[in-house]
């Protein structure tokens, strides 16, 4: 059986984190969590996630900081990051996209659309991986 893709959920609201995790597991993904910026960066280094879902308002290092730092880490710079935040898109989307985020969702996110974007990104990675190994 193929290895399940791993998604790192960075979210300080426990209920939202749990809800998203249940949904993603049912979709066939492995999930790992972080509830603050420092833990998020730690997990990114130790867990090697295939994709990251990132909240912006976080304790100890907000989402912008996490994204900025992540993109400087050699091993993690290619991990696709989807931002999911309660902050209005017009003040944040351009900025996080410039830093390399692949998508921006305002909370509450449309779940089918979020799943679509996750699937597309994961597919793109696995196809790239297949192309490299063949």
């Amino acid at each position: 059986m193929e290895k399940k893709p791993k998604i790192l959920i960075v979210e300080d609201d426990t209920d939202s984190m749990l809800g998203l995790s249940v949904i993603l597991q049912k979709e066939g993904y492995l999930t790992v969590f972080a509830q603050d910026g420092a833990t998020a960066l730690e997990k990114a280094k130790t867990e090697f996630p295939d994709l990251m879902i990132l909240d912006l308002g976080l304790p100890s290092g907000d989402g912008h900081f996490v994204l900025f730092t992540l993109k400087k880490l050699k091993r993690n710079e290619t991990v696709p990051v989807i931002v999911l935040s309660a902050r209005p898109a017009e003040f944040n989307e351009q900025h996080v996209r410039n830093m390399g985020a692949v998508a921006y969702f305002e909370k509450p996110a449309d779940i089918p659309r979020l799943l679509d974007v996750i699937r597309t990104e994961i597919d793109a990675i696995s196809e790239m991986g297949a192309a490299l190994s063949s």
């Binding site: 809800g19 017009e90 909370k107 779940i111």
Partner: protein, 501 residues
């Protein structure tokens, strides 16, 4: 001055500008000595024209204006001040050495004076009058400041509230999705029905929060749109299930008529979807069960280069005198009966109006009581002019626009959608987000399977760099494997030729 509390510490408040106008420098000097105070900034000028110039630059609490000046006299200066843009309401005190005749007094006041003093000026009278106006001005400024602070606080509060509402709403929607989609086990019919009601209400709450945010954005001029080249037919195809569902729950009929060969639009698909859903759901709401709601789209006969979209209902209608105010924020339509019209309009139409006008379109309504209403709005067709207009004052104009045309060859096998999305990602990667505009797939089909991309704000060498990057990415992309492609770049003015053809 019993009606206004004294400003306690004048030296601590900001200085207030007072303009002194007299053609004789000696008179000005006398006034300066007389009125000198740390809290006042006395600006002296020697002619009407200089006075007008000074008023353009700064805000003044008061103008002390000599009437008898060569050239433009005091009366004319006052008239010009009242007609001007800056400081047009500034209080003006006339000073004159002429005998004060009744006609002259009347003329002075009609020219805009608030008071008239006769030279030689009595220092105590002058000082107390200046004090009154300066004090009034300070109070006005304080009030303005307080209002501004209140408005800012309201905005901060609203944005805080909407932010705080989003987080629990997010968790709520996620768990509703989990239970509703059967992830947590099978549901009975009753459970499914009740959950659907809960979901619908969570959805309403979601819309309410985003409406709140939109209204704030609109009031601060921050409601921005990201237009793309879109097919209205495709857009409607996407929203159709939602509209049909809305019609079904209210037992209404819903029909769509789109003109053949409707041009592509230059519009923000998410925002237009919002406008259409809003107008349609209003139409469904305010009418008897079983009525027909229809949506029409055609080229506008009045405004060339625009498409007109109309939504007709057979509902209760809106009274003529109310049609003008329905687009105001917080407008609620009075409902003649609970059965016919259950809920008001609230913020929806105001937001629709703001969104349509951001697109450069217009929105309006016709209605006949008891017969029904028509809501109409216009949107720009896709054209180079429309793209330019939405780029606004950005530099470079036409010559900084470039068009990349992709021609893809190979057996498509219904893979057009996949190619299009692969291409979209590729273009985004090579040009940065929001820089490249991909044209919709069906436009492309008519061009011998060519897929096109319009790239704006890029000039010669930059475009060549982008083309090279796209070629490299194309070779590396697995989705696009097996298709040969051709990339052609057009610069500046050539673009309009291509689009017109």
């Amino acid at each position: 001055m019993t009606y206004l509390p004294e400003i306690s510490d004048e030296t601590q408040s900001e200085t207030v500008n007072v303009l002194l106008v007299d053609d004789l420098p000696d008179n000005l000097l006398a006034l300066e000595v007389l009125l000198e105070k740390p809290s006042l900034n006395l600006v002296s000028v020697t002619s009407g024209l200089e006075a007008l110039e000074a008023l353009k630059k700064e805000k003044f609490a008061l103008v002390l204006l000599d009437v008898d000046m060569p050239g433009m006299d005091g009366l004319e200066t006052a008239r010009q001040i009242r007609m001007g843009e800056a400081n047009s309401h500034v209080p003006i005190i006339f000073a004159t050495a002429m005998g004060v005749k009744r006609d002259f007094v009347l003329e002075s006041y009609s020219a805009g004076a608030v008071d008239l003093l006769v030279k030689p000026l009595e220092p105590s009278i002058l000082k107390s009058k200046v004090d009154v106006f300066v004090s009034l001005y300070r109070h006005e400024m304080k009030l303005e400041q307080a209002i501004r602070a209140q408005l800012e606080m309201k905005d901060r509060f609203l944005s805080q509230v909407s932010h705080e509402l989003r987080t629990p709403l997010n968790a709520l929607c996620q768990f509703l999705h989990i239970v509703e989609s059967g992830m947590a086990g099978d549901l009975t019919d009753d459970q499914r029905q009740y959950l659907a009601i809960a979901s619908r209400n969570a959805g309403n709450l979601k819309e309410l929060v985003s409406d709140l945010v939109d209204v704030m954005r609109a009031q601060n001029n921050k409601l921005k749109i990201s237009p793309q080249c879109i097919s209205f037919r495709d857009l409607l195809e996407e929203i159709r299930p939602e509209l049909d569902e809305d019609a079904r729950t209210k037992s209404n009929q819903f029909s769509i008529h789109i003109e053949e060969d409707l041009p592509f639009l230059w519009a923000d698909p998410g925002r237009i979807r919002q406008v259409i859903v809003n107008l349609c759901s209003n139409a469904m709401k305010f009418g008897p069960q079983g009525m027909l709601v229809s949506l029409m789209a055609r080229r506008s006969s009045d405004s060339p280069g625009m498409v007109q979209i109309e939504i007709h209902d057979e509902g209760c209608g809106i009274e003529e005198d109310k049609l003008k105010t329905i687009f105001d924020p917080l407008y609620q339509l009075e409902t003649p009966s609970v059965e016919d019209c259950r809920r008001g309009l609230g913020l929806g139409l105001f937001i629709c109006q703001e969104l349509v006008s951001q697109h450069g379109g217009r929105i309006w309504a016709h209605s006949e009581l008891g017969k029904g209403s028509q809501f109409c709005f216009t949107l720009p067709c896709f054209s180079l002019e429309a793209v330019q207009a939405s780029l606004g004052g950005e530099e470079g104009g036409l010559s900084s626009l470039s068009l990349l045309t992709f021609r893809v060859e190979g057996e498509m096998n219904g893979d057009e959608g996949k190619i299009q999305s692969g291409l979209r990602r590729l273009v985004e990667r090579c040009t940065g987000p929001h820089r490249g505009i991909l044209l919709p797939a069906n436009l492309l089909k008519s061009r011998q399977r060519a897929l096109s991309c319009l790239l704006f704000q890029a000039s010669g060498p930059e475009v060549d760099g982008v083309c090279d990057r796209i070629r490299d990415e194309w070779k590396a992309s697995s989705e696009l494997k097996g298709y040969r492609f051709d990339l052609e770049a057009l610069h500046g003015d050539q673009v309009s030729v291509e689009l017109a053809g």
